[in-house]
């Protein structure tokens, strides 16, 4: 499936599509889910929403608390009753350069860190969840077609963040040039395992498998400008060893 993710709007749409699949799934598994985030909290105030999009806003932690609120509030009733915040994310752009992965390995002192393990989250969102909400009650679900487990979930206090981009704009990144943090996907649990261990929920496997298949269809994004097609092909070839569903360029053209 062409993820149409060479721009920020395309990436947001992919996340929306994932939300549309995951929300009914979680509701069926017994969760109450309510939309949250600044599109809800500032729904009647388009002027404020416009101002919050300005880069300078990053200098106000008050504004960041509002702008980067988690997307959902969830309630699980029953034995393991809990109210928690949920954010659903996608990571479709792996790191293409082996030398950069090696650099991250050394910086983070994670000698076994692989390309499949490296997920990316917007830095301000990460900071907001960590500072303005109880860390044990914020859960991130991240779908990633280049990780063998495809859909991962974890409470943020259990997520290992091993790199943080410090400047306010990332001129090396494509699209929105948003600064990011890298998180260790390999230390997160697959969503079905997470739901079982944290909430005692045994998911309907056929429906869960459908979601896994949905993520398998996503094409891997190529970073604009910085990565040439040869470098892209090399990385895809390596990723196919652990994630055979990933399509190379020929398969994409043939729409296999």
């Amino acid at each position: 499936m062409d993820t149409n993710t060479t721009n920020n709007i395309g990436r947001m749409n992919l996340t929306k599509r994932l939300e549309e699949v995951l929300k009914p799934f979680l509701i069926k598994e017994g969760f109450l889910i309510e939309d949250f985030g600044y599109n809800v909290t500032l729904r009647n105030n388009s002027s404020m929403r416009t101002i919050l999009k300005k880069l300078i806003i990053k200098k106000s932690l008050t504004a960041l608390m509002v702008k980067f609120g988690p997307d959902f509030i969830c309630i699980k009733k029953g034995d393991k009753q809990e109210l928690f915040f949920l954010d659903i994310k996608t990571s479709i752009t792996p790191i293409f350069f082996d030398s950069y992965i090696e650099k991250l390995r050394n910086m983070a002192k994670l000698s076994k860190l692989s390309r499949e393990d490296i997920g990316e989250i917007e830095r301000e969102a990460w900071d907001s969840y960590n500072n303005f909400y109880p860390r044990n009650n914020v859960i991130i679900i991240i779908a990633c077609p280049y990780n063998p487990n495809l859909i991962l979930a974890e409470r943020i206090n259990n997520i290992l963040c091993f790199y943080r981009f410090e400047k306010d704009t990332n001129i090396e990144a494509g699209g929105s040039r948003t600064p990011h943090v890298n998180i260790h996907l390999g230390k997160m649990r697959r969503l079905d395992v997470f739901l079982k261990e944290e909430f005692g929920v045994e998911v309907h496997s056929s429906e869960f498998n459908e979601i896994l298949e949905f993520v398998k269809m996503w094409d891997i994004n190529k970073s604009m400008r910085r990565v040439n097609w040869k470098q892209y092909d090399n990385a895809i070839k390596k990723l196919k060893q652990t994630c055979p569903w990933i399509k190379d360029r020929t398969e994409r053209k043939l729409n296999l």
Binding site: N45, I56, S60, T62, L83
Partner: protein
């Protein structure tokens, strides 16, 4: 409209006339679905209390102009939450939420003093003391005037005075 909602609307009106944007940010507004809100109300955890004790207003300037340094100053000083209170009683849980999760943000405590028929405010971080809240002392006219909203002190005074009359009517 209940008492606090009424006051919230008046204060919102005052900020608007002063040239500020504000948005209701209280529990009812951040969770418009009343059924879900009822479910949240059944919990007494930090996660639920963040929602329940949400401040009444989120306020910011209607434009951010100037050079880079001026803009930074504006967003740091002039974007804030407003917690409206009519007495100085904060529950232990509420105080904990503000101390723990709002400590890096700017929360202005706006005290409607019905005895003096005046509005006082101060930053939450200046007011908390050993599990309690001190009475805000700063007059709202000074606070707003210092925001440099292109209004003279007399203009600010006039606007605040008009809304003050409505609030304490």
């Amino acid at each position: 409209m209940n008492f606090m909602k009424n006051k919230q609307q008046h204060i919102k009106g005052m900020f608007k006339e002063l040239g500020l944007l504000s948005s209701e940010y209280d529990f009812e507004n951040i969770i418009p679905n009343s059924n879900f809100r009822n479910e949240v109300s059944k919990f007494n955890t930090e996660a639920s209390n963040i929602l329940k004790f949400s401040p009444e207003l989120f306020v910011m300037p209607s434009s951010i102009r100037g050079n880079e340094e001026e803009k930074i100053k504006i967003v740091k000083n002039n974007i804030f939450f407003v917690k409206i209170i009519t007495d100085l009683k904060f529950s232990k849980e509420e105080l904990e939420i503000y101390e723990k999760y709002y400590k890096n943000t700017k929360v202005m405590i706006l005290y409607l003093d019905f005895n003096k028929k005046s509005l006082f405010l101060d930053n939450f971080s200046n007011l908390k003391t050993r599990g309690k809240i001190k009475s805000p002392k700063q007059n709202i006219i000074d606070f707003v005037y210092n925001m440099n909203l292109s209004k003279s002190r007399d203009e600010v005074k006039e606007i605040v005075s008009k809304w003050n009359n409505l609030i304490f009517k």
